[in-house]
Subunit: 208 residues, 2 copies
């Protein structure tokens, strides 16, 4: 037998204790403290907290929306899979339209990625929703274009696209002018579905 | 309209070009070059390549197993979601047993995490499989215990658990003695389902 901790709750407890001992959470407001800890937990890097940017009250806005039953709109199936349903306060719907059958044809028609045009199928759900982008920069750019064209406003945008082309730019564009929507981003190339889902899981309940 | 690249193939092309310009791939053997590039792509960090460790021929072993129809055994649903089915060379099965209905009771019985004991349901598939651990250190520890107890050997272990308790230790333990099984790991706390799935996607086909 190998010597390791086999108790899931104890692993969580020690993990969060290590994160709170090592990470500099001084700049994080109280309503985002657990979100910051969970995002760090998801990626294994305490310094990612230094790249978090957010609008005032973003955490409170997200919590209130979820408690009121807001749907959670995800750009990728991995994000949707990472959201722990048992933590959601109002049996909230978790929606990912990327694999909708019309999306490939729509992508050709609109000349954009499938990840971006899949947001066309979000319109009826957007008002007051929690948007979670954990993969595609083009999805975040497209969301900003939809908002500029008058689409209904989400309650919160969690902006965690990852990668080398457009990720940093799309998140900086959101933070520079979030079109009046509360937001949380991680600046730069880092991001991804695990961090994005962790952000939702942190806002869903106070339970760690 | 915002100015951004809307062509998915062009985004991939530029992303991989940036990675190959910035990352130090000198220590990566030819059969793992595309894997290294895709793992970097999945996390947005070129320096993650410096933490990759592998046994000789691991990439070739994984490619051969997938071409021969090996099942892909995943510790987490997010990993399974991240594997691009269209890339798989032999319509390979992608198996995740974490949500099998017997797993919670088995976890209580065996005194281990659900992620670990879910591997009990891998036994019939283990021989010659490609194992992908992208979340739970306990799953990797448990796999080593199963191998020590005589379980059939996979063709390849992709070890990418993430986090602060056991992640670094479990991967170092695998690299120190992989029980005769070829492996690829990323050392340290970093890892996760996106990197793990990217590793599979890279081995599945030569197409970028």
């Amino acid at each position: 037998m190998i010597d390791y901790i086999r108790d899931g709750q104890e692993i969580y407890r020690q993990s969060f204790a290590i994160i709170r001992a090592e990470a500099n959470l001084a700049a994080i407001p109280a309503d985002l403290e657990k979100l910051a800890v969970r995002v760090i937990h998801a990626c294994g890097m305490v310094d990612v907290v230094d790249a978090l940017r957010f609008s005032p009250g973003a955490g409170a806005a997200g919590r209130a929306a979820l408690a009121a039953g807001a749907p959670i709109l995800c750009d990728a199936r991995m994000v949707a899979e990472g959201i722990t349903r048992a933590r959601l306060p109002a049996d909230n719907r978790v929606i990912c339209t990327l694999n909708d059958p019309e999306v490939p044809a729509l992508a050709r028609e609109l000349g954009n990625t499938r990840s971006a045009v899949a947001l066309e199928h979000w319109r009826e759900h957007l008002e007051g929703s929690v948007v979670v982008i954990g993969n595609a920069p083009t999805a975040l750019f497209y969301l900003l274009e939809m908002l500029d064209a008058g689409a209904p406003k989400p309650a919160l945008i969690l902006g965690f696209p990852v990668g080398f082309v457009g990720a940093a730019e799309s998140k900086d564009m959101l933070a520079a002018d979030s079109r009046g929507v509360p937001y949380v981003i991680v600046r730069g190339r880092r991001g991804g579905s695990a961090m994005a889902a962790a952000a939702v899981n942190a806002l869903a309940t106070e339970v760690e």
